[in-house]
């Protein structure tokens, strides 16, 4: 009930948008090849569900693998950079620079270099999703209250013990924030990578739909991709809830 009353402005606005779009399509008589109506998109989405399914699965597979590796890699890197300041100073600018590379240009080259298997796609997903997580993790580590570190150090805890007992749990919120940002890009990055070359996947589906002049199928695939991203975000939210009992509760009472 509360969620309903909370989300009705969104629902209303979304509905108004869709109705406006539908009305425009019907009244102005735009060619569906150029701008299909929402009802048309919903219709083909239903008709083509069997054709889209394998592509969705392929994309999900690559995105999941790439994102998982990216999370692991970001975590490992963050630990190294946390403990070795000169590596951090050396690598961070390079990571920033890596974010300025247009993947449109890089993706076809990656396919050339690494073939059309999983590798180039996973690498592209990592390229896109790695950095926001790394930054969030490092800023999370840096935000641990000094008192926690001092306390553990005064107990004669070693660097690793301090990291495990204070730094890491304190960075949980920042990590989740980074995870959410990265997750928003994971599916889109996969689609990009597929677009440059793949056997199967939403990227291929979009490319084919475009080449066959089926704007309705392109938009249907966009809807599916957005739904996948929202699903991924929802899963993260769920994982947070399920695992985070220790990290919730009322805001810190004693300030």
């Amino acid at each position: 009930m509360r969620i309903l009353s909370y989300s009705y402005p969104t629902a209303l606005l979304a509905l108004a948008l869709l109705l406006g779009w539908e009305g425009y399509c019907r009244l102005a008589g735009v060619e569906p090849m150029i701008l299909p109506s929402p009802s048309g998109i919903a219709h083909v989405l239903w008709l083509e569900r069997a054709a889209i399914a394998p592509h969705v699965l392929a994309t999900l597979g690559v995105a999941t693998l790439g994102f998982t590796l990216s999370v692991g890699f970001a975590f490992a890197t963050s630990v190294v950079l946390h403990f070795v300041p000169w590596v951090r100073r050396g690598l961070m600018p390079l990571f920033v620079a890596s974010q300025t590379i247009p993947i449109v240009a890089l993706a076809p080259l990656m396919i050339l270099w690494f073939g059309f298997g999983l590798l180039p796609k996973v690498l592209l997903v990592i390229l896109v999703t790695f950095f926001p997580m790394l930054v969030s993790l490092l800023s999370g580590y840096a935000a641990v209250p000094q008192a926690y570190l001092d306390l553990l150090r005064s107990m004669d805890a070693g660097r690793v013990a301090i990291f495990r007992r204070a730094t890491l749990p304190a960075a949980r919120g920042a990590f989740l924030a980074g995870l959410r940002i990265s997750a928003t890009y994971a599916i889109v990055a996969t689609i990009f990578a597929e677009y440059a070359g793949a056997r199967r996947g939403l990227g291929i589906y979009i490319l084919a739909a475009k080449n066959n002049f089926r704007a309705d199928l392109v938009l249907a695939a966009v809807v599916v991709s957005a739904a996948l991203t929202l699903l991924l975000l929802g899963l993260l939210q769920l994982a947070d809830r399920v695992t985070g009992r220790r990290f919730r509760g009322p805001a810190d009472a004693a300030g």
Binding site: V44, P108, A196, R199, L207, N212, F213, R214, D216
Partner: protein
């Protein structure tokens, strides 16, 4: 100076020898003489027929497939010209691939594709005609296809004989090919220039001037292949000038531009209908609701060469 009428044309691919007549007409002032300021839009990731249909360009240079798919799917566009009198596409594979001797051998092989539905119809028909089962693996790679073929990561792909074919030869790649027409595909003309029907109705004069000048451009190129190649090289960004020259030579030697029974750019209605029929019958064309399209019976309104009469 006189007031020039602005027209724009979108291309089917990065500038190449197929477009030579347009460049010659532009560079030799034929368009100026016709009172036109022609903008040749650079190739982009959006299909030229889609750009044309949406009104983003006045004319489009389209692959035969691009034109027919768009037209069959309901775009209000009409073909006015066709550049190549014979199919320039062909199916290629590495000569040292001992497993491939005929299209039937493609069964179970890996194809590097470009992401259009017709490729499957084309290849399947060729395999079937040759007595094989059309069962093969597709990897969509776009331009990456040729590298993938050369490095053996895929078994076959499609190419334009007068461009990628020449390029492979220059690179010394040993490749063999099958012609579509030998295996059940109607021989088609290729490289249509078209416009929107409403544009035609509103600017018949501009259309006629544009296409006449274009025709003059291609005729001149056919007669002066070497100079035309140099004009093209001067107009574009060609990292490999030899490819352009070789390609122009191939076009002229192959008699692609002028057929005995046709003026340069002339559309053969029967062959267009045969190819369109093939597309409908192979079921690759679907409408906006996803339904398979019915053969309209008559496609003579798909093209209009009325401008040639003036």
């Amino acid at each position: 100076a006189q007031d020039l009428h602005d027209v724009s044309i979108a291309l089917d691919w990065t500038l190449n020898s197929n477009h030579v007549g347009l460049i010659v007409a532009e560079e030799r002032g034929l368009y100026d003489d016709a009172g036109l300021d022609v903008e040749i839009l650079p190739y982009s990731d959006t299909a030229s027929s889609a750009l044309l249909a949406s009104g983003a360009a006045d004319f489009a240079y389209m692959t035969s497939l691009g034109f027919m798919t768009a037209r069959a799917t309901g775009a209000d566009i009409t073909a006015l010209w066709v550049t190549m009198q014979h199919e320039t596409g062909r199916l290629v594979y590495q000569s040292d691939n001992a497993e491939i001797a005929r299209p039937a051998d493609l069964e179970g092989k890996t194809y590097a594709g470009f992401g259009s539905a017709w490729e499957d119809a084309l290849i399947s028909t060729m395999i079937e005609t040759d007595g094989g089962t059309p069962d093969y693996d597709t990897v969509t790679l776009g331009t990456g296809a040729y590298e993938a073929l050369a490095t053996g990561r895929v078994d076959f792909t499609l190419e334009v004989a007068t461009w990628e074919g020449v390029n492979s030869e220059l690179l010394g790649r040993e490749q063999s090919s099958f012609a579509y027409a030998d295996y059940g595909i109607p021989d088609q003309q290729n490289g249509y220039i078209g416009s929107r029907t409403d544009y035609l109705a509103e600017n018949p004069d501009v259309v006629a001037r544009f296409l006449s000048a274009t025709q003059d451009g291609y005729e001149w190129a056919a007669d002066h292949p070497e100079e035309a190649a140099d004009i093209l090289i001067g107009a574009g960004d060609f990292p490999n000038a030899e490819l352009v020259r070789g390609s122009m030579q191939a076009i002229v030697e192959g008699g692609y531009l002028d057929a005995a029974d046709q003026p340069v750019g002339g559309i053969d209605g029967d062959r267009l209908a045969a190819m369109a029929r093939f597309l409908f019958d192979s079921g690759v064309l679907t409408g906006p609701g996803g339904e398979t399209l019915e053969w309209p019976g008559d496609v003579s309104d798909w093209y209009d060469q009325g401008w040639m009469d003036e």
